[in-house]
């Protein structure tokens, strides 16, 4: 009975997964945590090269779909692995590099939109004892989508003067993708990272 209890306890994967004995805020802030989060942010930048091009061609980057799927997945992974500070490193390096390289005209706004995805992953971590389940990535996807839509609507109204009521179908398509795809990708990535031995007690 005791061993079964221990086994069940071991199945709980608490945020930050890279050092579960720490709190999610601030998370893992030693050199290893910072450098690992940084490398994840660079991976995100690398993958976004493929995704952002499509978004820019289709809607000028105003209604990103691929970019959003990649960012929710990678920022969710970074926050769940290294906590809030690690998540912020993953999320905020991308807009700096995107601004410096001029890859996206709306890159300055990614500072805010990416940060809200860290918040969604942090809240998810607070809600669930075990991050490596289906519930956690799905909740993360739902929260991130809500936060992003809530941020993009004022941006579209005040900055781009877009008629938001006529853009509902675009928001719907965007949300459909960001609700479903990142949850699946994040769940798979969390399992892969755990099985590769990057999760510590």
């Amino acid at each position: 009975m005791a061993s079964a209890g221990v086994a069940k306890e071991r199945l709980r994967f608490k945020i930050p997964l890279a050092k579960m004995s720490l709190n999610a805020w601030p998370g893992r802030t030693d050199t290893k945590g910072i450098v690992s989060a940084l490398m994840l942010s660079l991976v995100m930048i690398g993958i976004l090269q493929f995704g952002e091009r499509l978004d820019t061609i289709l809607t000028g980057g105003l209604f990103p779909v691929s970019g959003r799927v990649i960012s929710i997945t990678m920022i969710g992974l970074g926050t769940m692995l290294y906590g809030v500070v690690g998540g912020l490193i993953v999320s905020e390096i991308n807009p700096i590099i995107a601004t410096a390289t001029g890859t996206s005209p709306i890159a300055p706004f990614f500072f805010l939109t990416n940060a809200c995805q860290v918040l969604s992953a942090w809240i998810t971590g607070k809600m669930f004892d075990n991050a490596i389940t289906w519930k956690a990535p799905i909740t993360n996807g739902v929260l991130a989508t809500i936060f992003l839509v809530a941020l993009y609507i004022p941006l579209h109204i005040f900055y781009y003067h877009l008629p938001v009521e006529k853009m509902v179908s675009l928001y719907a398509v965007q949300s459909l993708f960001s609700l479903t795809v990142p949850a699946v990708l994040l769940r798979i990535l969390l399992k892969v990272v755990r099985d590769a031995g990057f999760v510590e007690e």
Binding site: I34, V35, S36, I47, F50, G51, P163, V193, F198
Partner: protein, 265 residues
């Protein structure tokens, strides 16, 4: 350092006026420019600002190609925004089109508004690019540290710039390895490309995390962040140019905000 960072590759004797300025001065100038850009949607005022920035780039001797490339990225956005504004604005209709049985109205006011918004986006993109073009990343790290940011976080920007080419090389290697196995991401339907990225993403994440272990160990062995106060090889000094740029930026910002809110612009 990546090639796009003009300031990092610049030798001290060839430094331009703006690349010699203190990073905090450039941060203040950037902040003021952002406020100015946001304070108005007047097409002529925004066009004037764009011309001013063009002149700054040309006179200061910044690399034209890398700085102005950002404007090319704005073109799809320009088309998208102008199209939406032209088709949804109900005022000043200049054309009535019949497309597949649907009546479409084209508004002149919408076109002008779309162009003004695009100009604003282009200005934002250009000003940010200029900032990162002229500010040396190491000097920026030091300035952020002086402003109170912990060094280990301020340093991540420099670290990111150092390792970005490495990660991109790794991605290219993994891509080639998958191609040799018959998995060519470049031939995948663009609409589902993100879903098909997984065979590239997983090896890249795992190899990057393994590499991070080694880098962190090497940094710890060299006593990274071991002492609360640290010294710097690169010095930062404020000159008379800094005072002038700060004063001009703040005065211009106040002038623009006042003029806009009084309805003159």
């Amino acid at each position: 350092m990546p090639k796009f960072l003009f300031a990092s590759a610049l030798e001290e004797d060839k430094a331009t006026f703006f690349s010699r300025l203190h990073p905090t001065t450039m941060l203040i100038a950037l902040g003021c420019m952002v406020v100015i850009i946001f304070s108005t949607l007047n097409f002529l005022a925004l066009l004037g600002l764009l011309v001013f920035l063009f002149l700054v780039v040309l006179i200061d001797g910044m690399p034209r190609q890398t700085t102005f490339t950002v404007l090319l990225v704005v073109i799809p956005l320009c088309i998208f925004i102008t199209l939406i504004q032209a088709l949804t604005d109900p005022n000043q209709i200049i054309a009535h089109l019949n497309l597949f049985g649907m009546g479409i109205l084209v508004s002149l006011e919408g076109i002008l508004l779309g162009l003004a918004i695009t100009l604003r986006v282009a200005l934002m993109a250009l000003i940010m690019t200029i900032f990162f073009t002229v500010v040396h990343p190491v000097k920026l790290t030091r300035a952020l540290y002086e402003l109170g940011m912990p060094f280990k976080f301020a340093y991540t920007f420099v670290l990111a710039l150092r390792f970005l080419p490495l990660v991109l090389d790794e991605l290219a290697t993994i891509n080639n390895a998958q191609k040799s196995r018959g998995y060519d991401i470049d031939r995948v339907n663009p609409a589902i490309k993100v879903l098909k990225m997984f065979p590239l993403t997983i090896p890249l994440i795992l190899s990057s995390l393994k590499r991070a272990d080694t880098i962190a160990l090497a940094m710890d062995l060299k006593a990274f962040n071991a002492y609360p106060k640290r010294t710097f090889f690169i010095g930062l000094q404020k000159g008379s140019g800094d005072t002038v740029v700060r004063a001009v930026s703040v005065v211009a910002m106040v002038f623009f905000v006042v003029v806009t809110f009084r309805g003159i612009l």
